[in-house]
């Protein structure tokens, strides 16, 4: 039921997330776009779990946990960078620049 449309919607949302990462320079907004991509992948797992069984739901469960951990650490990094540069614009962040 609704397998094709759900997978297509997942692809569309993932594309929007990638476009957002390419388009924006604000670190927090880029992070939000990454969350959008994770959500799109979750949708694909849920759509396929209709056929393959609860394994898909459990993977979504784990993806959400990893996303929560990633959000906490990533936002802490953004906080530390903001303290250093007074900005979260990626243009001003070139700590690793040789």
């Amino acid at each position: 039921m609704l397998l094709g449309p759900a997978l297509g919607l997942s692809a569309l949302l993932f594309t929007l997330g990638v476009a957002g990462v390419v388009l924006r320079r604000n670190a927090i907004v880029i992070f939000m776009c990454v969350e959008l991509m994770l959500n799109a992948v979750n949708l694909a797992f849920v759509a396929l779990a209709q056929i393959y069984g609860v394994g898909g739901y459990l993977i979504v469960f784990f993806v959400m946990t990893v996303a929560a951990a990633e959000a906490a650490v990533g936002l802490a990094i953004i906080l530390a960078v903001f303290r250093h540069h007074q900005s979260i614009d990626l243009q001003n962040i070139n700590l690793l620049h040789g």
């Binding site: 297509g8 396929l48 609860v54």
Partner: protein, 186 residues
């Protein structure tokens, strides 16, 4: 009926996601993202994943997004003077990358259960088709008999017990890492 509701929520999700990446203010972008996640939660429920839909709303639209809002508020970057959207080259790059990905993935629209079953059976090395599909039917039956959460709990705590425990370790590491990173250097 289900299909109509699905397409309504799909339109809301795509529209909100597009607004999210085009809004100049991080706060507006975040609110649009929350809207997209709520629509996705509704779609999960339509796809017979009621538990995941509720978790999506509680954890994603609730907890994680509040964390983002908190950081935006803490850094006071909600009000921006200049747009952080890249110039013409960035827009072109986004269009090209997005167009490539959507062209690659557009074949997914045509998938049906029958076609997926055929292709999985044809590629025997990928997964044991009989096992997978029997498992799927068994899972649906299990959900009908034991309820939505009852169908998920046994595999989570039996088959996936080790990944579940590793997840708790990951969360502990993330907590320690976040505290260390965010602590002000004296």
């Amino acid at each position: 009926m289900t299909e109509t509701v699905f397409y309504i929520f799909a339109a809301i999700a795509v529209g909100s996601a597009a607004m999210c990446i085009l809004q100049r203010s991080p706060v507006s972008a975040l609110i649009w993202l929350v809207q997209a996640m709520l629509a996705l939660g509704a779609i999960f429920v339509l796809l017979q994943a009621q538990f995941i839909g509720i978790i999506q709303i509680l954890v994603y639209a609730g907890a994680i997004m509040v964390l983002f809002l908190f950081i935006i508020m803490l850094l006071n970057v909600g009000r921006v003077q200049s747009s952080d959207i890249r110039g013409a080259a960035g827009i072109a790059a986004a269009l090209v990358v997005g167009g490539l990905i959507i062209a690659e993935l557009s074949g997914l629209w045509a998938y049906t259960n029958a076609r997926l079953g055929r292709e999985v059976r044809a590629s025997a090395g990928l997964v044991q088709a009989a096992y997978a599909f029997a498992g799927g039917q068994a899972a649906q039956h299990d959900t009908q008999v034991r309820g939505v959460v009852g169908g998920i709990a046994p595999p989570l705590f039996q088959v996936y017990l080790v990944p579940f425990e590793i997840t708790s370790l990951l969360l502990l590491t993330a907590i320690v890492g976040a505290v260390v990173l965010a602590k002000r250097r004296a």
